[in-house]
């Protein structure tokens, strides 16, 4: 709310001496003028798209979330029945929440920590650095694909690469991917491995930090760890914040790896039953579209809550230079 008042305040001010040529309401075309209408006309395709393809289905799914709808018969109104069932009468739903929360809590800090570490390493003036950066980005290009999830399955399988490696040291491995105790963690690893996009964003942030600050810190006798802690991290907080928000949203929506690795079942023993995977099962396997819609809206609320909390906390630790 405070941001919007900040923005609207100058607009209401009288033109000042340093801004006489700023377009005042007098010189601006009146709202509803021909020029405006033409502008809206050009925007029309986008509006049609927004209304028909985004807002329409969104509201449609909100309506469906209050119904019993099997795709084949007209939806029947059930009020809050779907929402009630989720939290009172559906252990698999609660399991999917648990799995997803564990995934988010583990994957976001680990992935971002890893991405930051790699970004710092890649932020040095070395020969061929562009190559290294490209190479480290590759997993993220492949990461979302089905092929990688399949390979991941092979890697952590009973007779997979990891176990061959362990066997070399005389350690008897297990089938990591098909044991309910470890399956989820292999998927956490898979996500950490796809550190490319936060890494690139960190790298861009690191480039923005003025070299003088490091030089000054060095003159004062700061060690490299001290420079990292007292110069890099504070100046990077806006970037870290951005990455945290984005990765939390993404982690809540994880679907492909679990779908491929577990063959769509969320198994073994529902240990990889991600929220979105269960939503998909309810919608398309069991044809409970109303229930699936309700699940989607709860997920939206969960993600929105997390994002709000993040923004609330951000005031305490994110440092903006220009403020």
């Amino acid at each position: 709310m405070s941001t919007s008042t900040e923005i609207s305040a100058p607009a209401g001010r009288e033109p000042t001496a340093d801004g006489p040529d700023r377009s005042t309401p007098a010189t601006r075309p009146k709202p509803g003028s021909r020029r405006d209408r033409v502008a809206y006309l050009f925007l029309a395709p986008w509006f049609v798209g927004l209304l028909l393809l985004t807002a329409g289905p969104l509201l449609g799914s909100l309506y469906l979330s209050f119904t019993k709808f099997n795709l084949l018969q007209p939806p029947a109104w059930t009020g809050f029945g779907n929402y009630l069932k989720m939290f009172t009468d559906d252990p698999r739903y609660l399991q999917s929440l648990k799995v997803t929360f564990i995934y988010v809590v583990l994957t976001v800090p680990l992935q971002l920590g890893f991405a930051l570490a790699v970004a710092v390493m890649l932020n040095r003036p070395l020969r061929g650095m562009a190559w290294y950066r490209s190479i480290y980005y590759i997993p993220s290009l492949l990461g979302g694909s089905v092929a990688i999830a399949v390979i991941w399955g092979q890697l952590f399988d009973d007779d997979g690469v990891l176990n061959s490696f362990l066997a070399f040291f005389g350690v008897a491995g297990r089938s990591w991917i098909s044991s309910p105790d470890t399956a989820l963690y292999t998927l956490v690893l898979l996500n950490i491995w796809q550190f490319g996009s936060p890494m690139v964003i960190f790298l861009a942030g690191l480039k923005q930090i003025p070299q003088e600050l490091y030089d000054a810190a060095s003159v004062d006798g700061a060690s490299s760890w001290r420079r990292f802690r007292s110069v890099t991290v504070p100046l990077l907080t806006p970037i870290i914040f951005f990455n945290v928000v984005l990765q939390i949203i993404q982690a809540f929506q994880a679907f492909t790896p679990a779908y491929v690795v577990s063959g769509g079942s969320g198994g073994p023993s529902d240990s990889t039953l991600f929220y979105t995977l269960y939503l998909y099962q309810q919608g398309f396997t069991n044809l409970n579209m109303g229930y699936a819609s309700a699940m989607a809206w709860v997920l939206l609320l969960i993600i929105a809550t997390f994002t709000l909390i993040n923004f609330g906390l951000a005031r305490r630790w994110v440092y903006y230079e220009d403020r």
Partner: protein, 436 residues
């Protein structure tokens, strides 16, 4: 001043046309959409080979029937059901729909398919089709699906492994006790290099065979049709084998998807016994291993007891309730199920033809391959040994199958006891079947 306005008008007109064109075509006003109305859409699922053959068949029908154009819409099995459900919801599903047993209950009960009673026997001749197959496509006594081919549950065994270990091949009439003994022997004699059998404890099709051997079944009249003690016995049977290596351990079992041969323990040579649906023998299991695979009847409860197997339709053809060309669709279905060209084209790709007319065509031909003979002989044996088939599956049967898999894994990984597992499964399955 006139020029910019003129250009503006021109742009406005252009934009309007650009926006309206797709809307108009959506309203079926253009000629391309009109042509689509004249044709009968036929959707099918399967692997590329199967889809290729069925597409070819659609072409054959079109070329021999000048007034009807069959538009074939083939989709890989993994995506087919999502697509069909979405098409149904959007009111844009095909006229003739290839559908499986669980979904015929799901879709039929929801009124998405139409009863075929008015087309029988004039348009669709069901007399050549085995009665036991027909009833599986009926809902409340009305025919909703025409079976196209037969698929029968069989017990597959690795001949190469059994011969290497000097073990006897399983007989036609064998019991679950003998099955367990053989499975344990495979484990012992192979020096623990290979497990005895797959672990089908979470597979509804396998459980059904076991239950039917005891005179029970999975479902009857839309609810569970077996005693809790039978499910306990089933889980205990496999738990005992798991302990001795007679069946694969839980983590290997979790990698295998039932009925999916490349991940199955038989193909991966982790075990020497595993169930096979007959259409999957040739193109599925046998093609992926250099070992010889043979099939026999699944075990029974007692030596002279009932065998649980039954010929099941591999899939059905159904008519969309909203089809505008249902008459043409029904005629095509008859040609597909009973016709000579269809039998000659499809052969045993989905199992032996459900129609005796189709089977005759194949038997009269002298070009049967070894594995085709193997499947035909087994089907003959299974038909002789099978009892009355189950009713069509209830709408929630896919969800119940998920539940059984989950419960079996909880038990196998020792997350819960068998007693808890059975109680939980029965309670949850009842609730699911009641639509709660």
């Amino acid at each position: 001043m006139t020029t910019p306005i003129g250009r503006r008008h021109f742009l406005q007109a252009g934009l309007t046309a650009g926006i309206l064109a797709p809307l108009l075509s959506a309203c079926n006003l253009d000629p391309a959409a009109k042509e689509a109305k004249e044709s009968v859409r036929f959707s099918s699922y399967g692997d590329p080979t199967k889809l290729g053959l069925r597409g070819k068949l659609a072409g054959l029908y079109t070329s021999s029937h000048p007034d009807v154009k069959i538009v074939f819409e083939g989709t890989a099995t993994a995506e087919y059901w999502d697509k069909l459900a979405t098409q149904m919801a959007g009111g844009n599903a095909p006229d003739v729909i290839n559908i499986d047993a669980p979904r015929i209950g799901q879709y039929g009960a929801a009124g998405a398919l139409q009863t075929l009673q008015k087309y029988i026997p004039d348009t669709i001749d069901t007399k050549p089709i085995d009665h036991n197959l027909l009833v599986q496509g009926q809902l409340k006594g009305e025919q909703f699906g025409i079976p196209v081919a037969m698929s029968t549950y069989s017990m597959g065994y690795d001949v190469t492994v059994l011969d290497q270990l000097g073990l006897e091949h399983p007989k036609e009439a064998w019991t679950w006790t003998e099955f367990a003994a053989l499975a344990n022997e495979i484990r012992q004699k192979s020096g623990k290099k290979i497990y005895g059998a797959e672990d089908p404890s979470g597979d509804t099709a396998s459980l059904q065979i076991f239950l039917r051997g005891k005179g029970e079944d999975l479902y009857k009249d839309g609810t569970l049709a077996f005693a809790d003690s039978s499910l306990t016995e089933w889980f205990e049977y496999w738990a005992a084998l798991r302990a001795t290596g007679g069946t694969i351990p839980a983590d290997i079992a979790a990698q295998a998807k039932y009925g999916d041969w490349p991940t199955g323990p038989l193909v991966k040579k982790q075990a020497a016994l595993a169930h096979i649906q007959t259409p999957n023998l040739k193109g599925g299991f046998q093609d992926l291993t250099e070992h010889t695979i043979d099939i026999t009847l699944p075990p029974r409860n007692t030596k002279d007891g009932k065998c649980g197997t039954f010929p099941a339709p591999s899939s059905f053809l159904s008519l969309n309730a909203r089809s505008k060309r249902a008459d043409d669709g029904a005629a095509f279905m008859n040609w597909f199920a009973n016709g000579e060209e269809a039998a000659k084209t499809l052969r045993l790709i989905s199992g032996p033809p459900a129609s005796a007319a189709g089977r005759d065509v194949l038997l009269k031909g002298s070009d049967l391959s070894a594995s085709e003979k193997q499947v035909l002989a087994y089907t003959d044996l299974a038909l002789k040994n099978s009892s009355a088939p189950p009713q069509a599956s209830p709408a929630a049967s896919t969800a119940v199958a998920d539940l059984l898999l989950k419960t079996s894994q909880d038990v196998a990984f020792k997350k819960i006891s068998i007693k808890q597992g059975v109680q939980k499964f029965v309670a949850d399955a009842r609730k699911t079947l009641d639509g709660k």
